[in-house]
């Protein structure tokens, strides 16, 4: 009886701890732990903005904007695109709030966006999943919900403008139409018999890493920045280097900090003169070695 009581008490205590933990996690909002650079925005509205980067309402706005701009680029079929948008699915991986403007309530966010098209339609190459690393701004629209400004989404919008009907992979006429399904709702149950392009669903290995550099690609100006923004491997190097740099600066002595900053400027100049990807990659690897050497007191000034 006495042992049973202790067990019961232990279970109750564990349950209470679990409830506290769940409540804590639920009230934390969307973590911004991926962020490696840029100081955190700690305005009162940051938590709300943080959530708006990753809300279903925001994703719905982004999806509508993708279809609107694709129809605009195509120059026709806006109505069909609007209808089709309702049947498409967007997913955002690693949504991060980059900054917030307390005066306007705007939140600048970034993330890896995927768009899954419904059965019965596909874009060039038969693809039904499109992906891009995007930047987006969510801003209140004079008390009438939010508006979204979407950037760097051409890798989705341009192919989406080639949307065409497909049919089940049965014997059909060899014809691929370039029209958008006029009644998207029918596509799920009755694919058009006019077309035959069989969607080739990308394999997981085709999926990009979704890696972003440590800086905002919307502001990329130099050759080096542009290259890093267009290459997932270089972006990974940049994030790793930035993380190492930030960790080092936070623990460096004044002398080490001065060295870190001096050598950073030289590294950036070197990177931005690089003629190719290999050179930029080597520059990052060398820079990480340099940061390590500075922190371990083994750094020697180049000639």
């Amino acid at each position: 009886m006495r042992r049973l009581s202790w067990t019961t008490i232990g279970l109750i205590a564990a349950l209470v701890l679990l409830v506290i933990l769940v409540a804590y996690l639920a009230t934390r909002g969307n973590s911004d732990q991926d962020k490696l650079t840029n100081p955190r925005v700690t305005t009162e509205g940051a938590s709300t903005n943080d959530k708006s980067c990753a809300s279903n309402g925001t994703y719905e706005l982004i999806k509508r904007e993708l279809f609107r701009r694709a129809a605009q680029l195509r120059g026709s079929d806006q109505g069909a695109y609007d209808k089709l948008a309702a049947y498409a699915v967007v997913r955002m991986e690693n949504p991060v709030m980059e900054s917030a403007d307390s005066s306007t309530g705007a939140a600048n966010c970034s993330g890896s966006l995927s768009l899954d098209l419904p059965p019965g339609v596909a874009v060039v190459g038969g693809r039904r999943t499109l992906m891009a690393d995007v930047d987006y701004t969510i801003q209140p629209a004079n008390g009438n919900g939010n508006v979204v400004l979407l950037r760097n989404a051409d890798a989705i919008i341009a192919p989406l403008a080639t949307l065409a009907r497909t049919a089940e992979p049965v014997a059909q006429v060899n014809e691929v139409t370039n029209e958008v399904a006029p009644e998207a709702s029918q596509q799920r149950t009755a694919p058009s018999a006019r077309s035959v392009e069989v969607p080739a669903i990308p394999s997981p290995s085709q999926k990009p890493a979704g890696t972003r550099p440590s800086f905002d690609c919307a502001n990329a100006r130099t050759r080096g920045e542009t290259e890093v923004c267009s290459d997932a491997g270089l972006a990974t190097l940049d994030r790793n280097m930035a993380a190492q740099y930030n960790r080092s600066v936070s623990t460096a002595s004044p002398e080490q900090r001065e060295l870190l900053e001096q050598t950073r400027d030289r590294f950036l100049r070197y990177r931005d003169r690089c003629p190719n990807r290999q050179c930029i990659g080597d520059a990052y690897v060398g820079r990480m070695r340099e940061i390590r050497d500075i922190m371990e007191g083994r750094w020697q000034s180049p000639r």
Partner: protein, 224 residues
């Protein structure tokens, strides 16, 4: 004489930062005839890219007139600017900006489908263009599997896929080593001439500029 593909009249662009205003374009007057290839020379920061952004209708904030194939484009709404970019212009940038998830062939097919081309015709056209540029064996490769010169060739083919009346090129070989740049640039010029398009090509390379039909120089925001 046929109508110019591009006429700018008193084109101006100012950038304001805080209390400082910089006038990058100070009244640019430029005309380009059909099929004419014009070099836009100027040092870094002289406004070459800004001028290309303006005539490519990629940014707003400009004053003055831009007529493309006879249509006043400066005052068009977003839909109108998109239509002109799609139907009248081809772009080649210093960096290829190819879609990484699509093959070389698909990257060249894509703008044709956007414009309403038949898929089979678009595929044949893309093959022909890439073949002309020596990429027949690389059609199914993704951009990441191509060399820098090959990537830029694909970008050239994409720019010309819809036979645009005007190609805008911003340092199209600036990202390549000298030898590759010479080869790609020669292929670019041959293809533009072969297609009968006009081109405005920004460069700071006098040697490359000399290969074009005409050279204009941007100095302190004005053409000389």
């Amino acid at each position: 004489m046929s109508e110019p593909v591009l006429i700018t009249n008193n084109l101006r662009r100012r950038f304001t930062q805080g209390e400082v205003t910089i006038e990058v374009l100070r009244g640019v007057d430029l005309g380009i005839q059909p099929g004419e290839i014009v070099a836009l020379l100027g040092p870094s920061g002289s406004g070459k890219s800004t001028l290309l952004q303006a005539v490519g209708l990629l940014e707003g904030g400009f004053e003055g007139s831009i007529r493309l194939a006879g249509e006043e484009a400066g005052s068009l709404d977003d839909d109108g600017r998109t239509r002109i970019r799609r139907d009248l212009l081809g772009f080649v940038y210093q960096f290829h900006h190819l879609l990484p998830e699509f093959s070389a062939l698909e990257n060249v097919i894509l703008p044709q489908l956007v414009r309403g081309a038949e898929p089979d015709a678009a595929r044949e056209r893309a093959k022909q263009l890439l073949g002309t540029l020596g990429l027949s064996e690389r059609l199914e490769h993704r951009p990441s599997k191509l060399s820098g010169g090959e990537q830029q060739r694909v970008a050239v083919a994409r720019a010309l896929a819809n036979k645009p009346p005007l190609v805008l090129a911003d340092e199209p070989t600036g990202n390549l080593d000298e030898q590759t740049a010479d080869t790609v640039f020669a292929e670019f010029l041959n293809l533009v001439r072969g297609e009968g398009s006009a081109a405005l090509v920004a460069t700071h390379n006098e040697r490359l500029a000399a290969r074009m039909d005409r050279v204009v120089r941007l100095h302190e925001g004005r053409l000389q």
